[in-house]
């Protein structure tokens, strides 16, 4: 996935505010034809071209809307004009999920430490995004909060950087955890409640082309009042969780099956039950040297 610096220097249109909020995104924004510096940043190649436009006519004034436009088409319903960033984020996710079939797209948050990836598959109520965001603010490099991009030939995770979408209570959890965290504006009353976006760190952006070896798979479960626990999970359970939540598992066929199988056989798979996010972060950091050692032993075992 080609990652390019987003357009940060657009003019004074609503579109400009969107792009500015997307600091460190892994997408190319061809947001405004009229501005040469944006064109230059786009370069000769982008994986996805997006125009966020205000429709003309009645809709400019009456319940104004913002429209997502891609390759000369309007594939989705417009959003209210004051929610361009959520429209951008959901639409771009949808389109990348449809077209990036050269890689396996797990529905997972991924962070990296010591060259190895921690993969957190998305399950309803798992708090995957919150935990991904929290880890990315505590010494882990963010690869993605949405797409676990697995190169099935090399069995490496590739970054797919974009702003981390935080929902409802997560926003305050992250603010409390890291008061300096760079959060964009809150968008109330979207389909998923209130949404705000966390910018990836400078380091994550600078290292956006650097892949990570598989480290561990963690299935997070936020249980109020619980004591932090990491319990091993059987490989078949981990397999179904990863494979059947992937965006394009069926498209990849046997290649996808082989990659997910290899992943759950090589990596430790744990269920993480937690209520205190600080404690959960410490538990993961404590176990990580063991994960890295095991991964390196695997590599030596392969003779690689």
């Amino acid at each position: 996935m080609t990652s390019l610096e987003p357009a940060a220097r657009l003019g004074a249109s609503p579109e400009a505010r969107i792009a500015a909020a997307l600091r460190g995104a892994g997408l190319c924004f061809d947001a405004d034809r009229g501005q040469a510096d944006v064109e230059a940043q786009a370069g000769d190649w982008a994986d996805l071209h997006v125009d966020l436009m205000r429709p003309r006519g009645l809709r400019r004034w009456w319940r104004p809307q913002v429209r997502f436009q891609n390759d000369g088409r309007v594939p989705f319903e417009p959003f209210p004009a004051d929610a361009p960033l959520p429209l951008m984020e959901w639409s771009a996710n949808w389109m990348l999920g449809r077209r990036c079939n050269h890689v396996l797209l797990l529905h997972a948050g991924v962070v990296e430490r010591d060259g190895h990836a921690l993969v957190m598959p998305a399950m309803p109520g798992s708090g995957k995004s919150t935990l991904t965001a929290a880890l990315s603010l505590h010494g882990w490099r963010l690869l993605s909060d949405e797409f676990g991009v697995l190169d099935v030939e090399r069995l490496r995770f590739r970054p797919a950087l974009k702003p981390v979408a935080l929902k409802n209570a997560s926003i305050d959890v992250i603010r409390a955890l890291a008061p300096g965290a760079e959060l964009g504006p809150s968008f109330p009353k979207t389909r998923k409640g209130t949404v705000a976006h966390l910018a990836p760190s400078r380091e994550a952006v600078d290292r956006v082309h650097e892949p990570a070896r598989p480290g561990a798979v963690v299935l997070p479960r936020w249980v109020p009042g619980s004591v932090t626990r990491l319990e091993p999970v059987a490989a078949p359970v981990a397999f179904t969780t990863l494979a059947f939540n992937a965006f394009n598992y069926t498209v990849l066929g046997a290649a996808g099956f082989d990659a997910v199988t290899a992943l759950v056989q090589r990596c430790p798979v744990w269920q993480l039950e937690y209520s205190d996010i600080d404690d959960a972060l410490h538990a993961l950091a404590r176990r990580w040297p063991e994960v890295v050692a095991r991964a390196q032993a695997n590599v030596e075992g392969d003779g690689a």
């Binding site: 034809r33 982008a46 071209h49 390759d71 319903e77 959520p86 959901w90 996710n93 389909r191």
Partner: protein, 384 residues
Amino acid sequence: MPLPNGPNAPNDRPPAGAAALAWLAALREPQRACAWSLAQWQRHVRLARRLRLLGRLAESVIGAGLLPQLPEPVRAHLVAEQRYARARTLALTWALDRAGAALGPVGPRVLLKGAAYIGQGLAIAAGRLPSDVDLMVPAPVLQAAQAALVADGWAETPMDAHDQRYYREWSHEVPPMRHPAHPIELDLHHNILPPVSRNTVDAARLLERLQPSQMPGWQVLHPQDQLLHSAAHLFFESEARDRLRDLVDMDGLMRHFGADPGFWAGLPQRAQALGLAEPLAMAMALAVRWLGTPVPAEVQQRVRAIGPGPLGRAWVSMLFSALLDPGDPDRLPPLRQTLAAQALLLRYHLWRMPLKLLLPHLWHKWRSERAAELERPGDAGPAA
């Protein structure tokens, strides 16, 4: 772009936009693509994806072993689309296999369009992204066929009472059906054009000349009828833009079946017998002009003779030139394209339905679209 041999009337020169379509030749001559710069690749990948031709480009280039010569991001997108098109084709093949089993003795059953190209193993089927699967059975067994499919889990997509009635009374197909196990829509037809249209096709004549396919239990139309169906589709489809793929299909069909001289013999007569002389004449002329389709000069002459007069020809040709231009990858359809599409759509509707059916239908469509637009909640977006 090579011009075919033969007489070219003044308006048969390649249109101004034809140079912009020269890249389409890479679908059959992939070496051409090796000369493209990254910026050209970007443009062609975007246009091809919109036209649902990126899979064909991918199969062509990868099949020729040219992938290692291409820039990295291009490779990724071609591999990705090849996988996607193959997965869709596999889904279609499986759905056909299951639908065939469900239909049991009901038949004869016919694959149309993309399904037929896959069922015959045609070169144009490789990478051709199927959006749905089109099937045809004789009208007398349509009910039985639909009942058998419903019994197997296929269900009509929900629609309002007007649309239901439209399909039942005026259309040449039953409402589209979906199945929880198959990620593809099934369109069951009893004809290739609506029965109420003034120039309806006599389906019995199509059924007289069915050919076997490579899929057990499924037949296909005669090659001439496949071409005529594709021409009718290009002509009467209601979609406003990106119908260039129909023309590319026709080009592929003529290149493939045209190798047999028997294919051309009797083609004009067949078009007349089915009432599709005008679509054939116009579509063939467009394919020759825009895509350099090699049609024998004598065939071009005979087909032109059964087509519309100079005035109708110029008019339709102008509209199609505007309509088929894929335009800029960043732009929505320009106004002249929208207007051309509207004009052709009106023509199509007049062809398709008598005025006393058409006016209430258009009124209902306009009203329900208005209603939907006003009710539409702003945040009904795609799933995250």
